[in-house]
């Protein structure tokens, strides 16, 4: 039996776990906090712009479970807001139990409040993980989906301090990186100004704290755009954002609110006194991060150097996905990379050739493109997503962008990858 151990229960960890289980492995998914999904607990936006194409590619490749769950749990579909078309918004309040159910249905052992503190490595092979209670968990192959956000010391050093976000570091202990513990030197993302890290790009407001008019409109349409009073317009915060697809001028001129269960405010942080000067938000308060008036979590502080097969360089049996595998933004990107990493982990144990997604698919092209760009100084200052910024432009110019389900299915079939994630390899 092949034992795959996945470190980190965010979207990419869940996707990796599912892909490894489908390929025939015995999978253990370890999560530091008491809930799966990680920063996806406050995400919500998918199928916007090129993410639609990427989601359909994964579905055609047989890795659609999580996208089907998101679709089933969407509050709104086909929403458009500045710079973004045909977005779906999943309900962040009810998504996690559903995903946990999907994961457990595959026979995956999910262990929450299981924090890793170290790895045991002989030569270039990781033997086991050491838990904070001293327990040792052995595995044949490991997937690092520990993310790149936090913990508190990093948010203080590179950002505005701990903003008390969904990561909940003080309660569950800090995130650690398997890659770093395996003595692999990590790469740091940068802000547009060259300083390190990037701040998460959105906050959640408590819906009950909005004016009844805004709340009603938000729940009916999924999106509310409020022109920002002139005095509050500040372009300067945009460069600090993790999500460059929302770092466009329209987001400085307007407050964009989305209904993801909470009211998602598309800005990294916004001083509460200023926010309350906006009509309709006089009584607003933050839901996540709790100190959204002051800052947000810092991310991209530890990216693993890896190949396009997502195997971490320098360790034989370690794969990575999500933000760990490149300067990616968003849970669609996390799921796409997670599926590949989980699948390749099983191939590793069977001495099979690793799967590398072809560049004729957006999913393959983005991984290769990001890894190319990360080798350049400017490349580290950008974030890459199917939904906007440089990569969506590239998708359009290379005709990789499509919203035609059949067309996307045919492209996947042409690469011979239809249902590749559904095949049991063992």
């Amino acid at each position: 039996m092949i034992n795959v151990v996945i470190a980190g229960g965010g979207w990419s960890g869940c996707a990796a776990a599912i892909a490894a289980a489908k390929a025939g492995a015995q999978v253990m998914l370890l999560e530091r906090t008491d809930m799966l999904l990680g920063t996806g607990l406050v995400g919500g936006i998918f199928r916007n712009n090129g993410r639609y194409t990427a989601a359909e590619e994964s579905i055609a490749m047989g890795g659609g479970d999580l996208f089907v769950a998101m679709d089933a749990n969407s509050r709104h579909k086909g929403v458009s807001f500045p710079g973004h078309s045909h977005a779906s918004l999943y309900d962040v309040s009810s998504m996690e139990p559903l995903v946990k159910q999907v994961v457990e249905n595959y026979g995956i052992t999910v262990r929450t409040q299981a924090r890793i503190i170290d790895v045991l490595k002989y030569g270039k092979v990781i033997q086991a993980l050491v838990m904070d209670n001293g327990e040792i968990i052995k595995g044949d192959v490991f997937v690092d989906t520990t993310g790149t956000a936090g913990p508190m010391g990093n948010c203080l050093t590179y950002g505005n301090g701990c903003a008390m976000c969904i990561m909940r570091c003080p309660s569950f202990g800090p995130r650690i990186s398997l890659t770093a513990k395996a003595q692999v030197k990590e790469v740091m993302g940068q802000k547009a100004d060259g300083s390190f890290g990037a701040m998460s790009g959105s906050c959640k407001l408590n819906k009950d704290s909005l004016s009844p008019e805004i709340r009603t409109k938000l729940e009916a349409e999924g999106v509310v755009v409020i022109p920002m009073p002139e005095a509050l317009r500040r372009n300067s915060t945009l460069g600090k954002k993790a999500c460059s697809q929302y770092a466009i001028a329209e987001y400085a001129a307007n407050l964009v609110l989305l209904d993801t269960g909470h009211c998602k405010l598309m800005t990294s942080f916004f001083p509460l006194s200023e926010l309350r000067a906006v009509p309709g938000l006089e009584n607003a308060r933050y839901e996540d991060p709790y100190s959204g008036g002051q800052g947000n979590s810092m991310r991209y502080l530890g990216i693993a150097p890896c190949s396009n097969t997502l195997r971490v360089e320098g360790v034989d049996n370690l794969f990575c996905a999500g933000e760990k595998s490149g300067v990616f933004v968003g849970h669609t990107e996390a799921v796409v990379t997670g599926l590949l990493a989980g699948h390749n982990a099983v191939r590793h144990c069977l001495d099979m050739q690793y799967l590398e997604l072809p560049r004729s698919l957006a999913s393959g092209d983005i991984i290769a493109f990001v890894h190319e760009r990360m080798g350049t100084k400017d490349g580290l200052r950008l974030r890459y997503t199917f939904s906007g910024s440089v990569y969506f432009e590239r998708m359009k110019s290379l005709s990789l962008y499509s919203t035609d389900r059949n067309d996307i299915g045919e492209r996947v079939a042409k690469c011979g990858l239809t249902d590749v994630y559904n095949q049991c390899l063992v």
Partner: protein, 252 residues
């Protein structure tokens, strides 16, 4: 396959953290406060960098307002001589010092108040009753002998200090076990608080005591009163007492 020994600084979560080591970029726990670029600590439940940030706010230089150890001038209120150079001393300390010294493995530094700082020497706490501290001192060198001859019984006590990076969590976390406590000579005083802590956690304790080099067992009755089964032996070395002559020869 063993993990690295997880050690924590004994000052973490105490009012004395962050300390001078953090000021000089030598914190043994926080990677940022050791000059490294990223978080990499053996999580203790709080962020030392954050503590540092809050404590430093508004002060002239980093760490200016950090709490330092307390110096208390007090008097020896009771002495008892167990052996030619073994003295039990009792003295009063402040309430907060007494509270801190109840932690297993605590120690203080002692000297005469008017002596220079380098006359300080460390002394383990044997017992804390209300605000009365009990220690046992072996008068063996210039510092300890000088302390015992202090005029008017006046002494200076600096503390609290805790037991370094080892030991503490294992003693605190053993519950309902069966434990053999072995102590001899000057190892007897610190064995008392350990026994008290282990008993409080529902452990069953058997003690083996030997007089050691100082030639006296003096915690036997206290242990028996606590309900420990005590076996006093003449020596725990097969060949009797330590042999300083042989030791010197090996070293040369």
């Amino acid at each position: 396959m063993y993990p690295k020994l997880a050690v924590n600084c004994s000052d973490i979560n105490s009012p004395f953290c962050p300390c001078l080591l953090a000021d000089t970029n030598h914190c043994i726990s926080c990677s940022h406060l050791r000059g490294l670029p990223f978080c990499e600590c053996n999580w203790s439940g709080l962020c030392i960098l954050y503590e540092k940030q809050w404590q430093s706010k508004g002060s002239g230089w980093r760490g200016e307002n950090n709490l330092e150890r307390w110096d208390i001038t007090t008097y020896i209120s009771r002495r008892e001589q167990f052996a030619p150079n073994i003295h039990l001393l009792e003295f009063e300390v402040s309430e907060e010092m007494a509270r801190e010294l109840r932690t297993t493995g605590s120690f203080v530094f002692m000297r005469r108040p008017d002596d220079p700082q380098y006359f300080h020497f460390p002394v383990g706490i044997m017992k804390i009753q209300d605000t009365t501290a009990t220690v046992v001192i072996e008068a063996i060198g210039p510092k300890s002998i000088r302390l015992l001859e202090t005029p008017d019984n006046q002494i200076l006590v600096r503390g609290p200090y805790y037991n370094g990076v080892l030991g503490q969590p294992w003693i605190d976390n053993i519950t309902c076990g069966t434990i053999l406590l072995v102590a001899g000579g000057m190892g007897q005083p610190p064995a008392l608080p350990i026994a008290a802590k282990l008993l409080a956690n529902g452990n069953k304790l058997t003690a083996v005591l030997a007089p050691g080099k100082i030639g006296k067992i003096f915690i036997e009755k206290e242990l028996q009163d606590m309900g420990v089964e005590v076996h006093s032996v003449e020596s725990m070395r097969r060949t009797g007492h330590a042999q300083p002559v042989a030791w010197r020869r090996v070293k040369a």
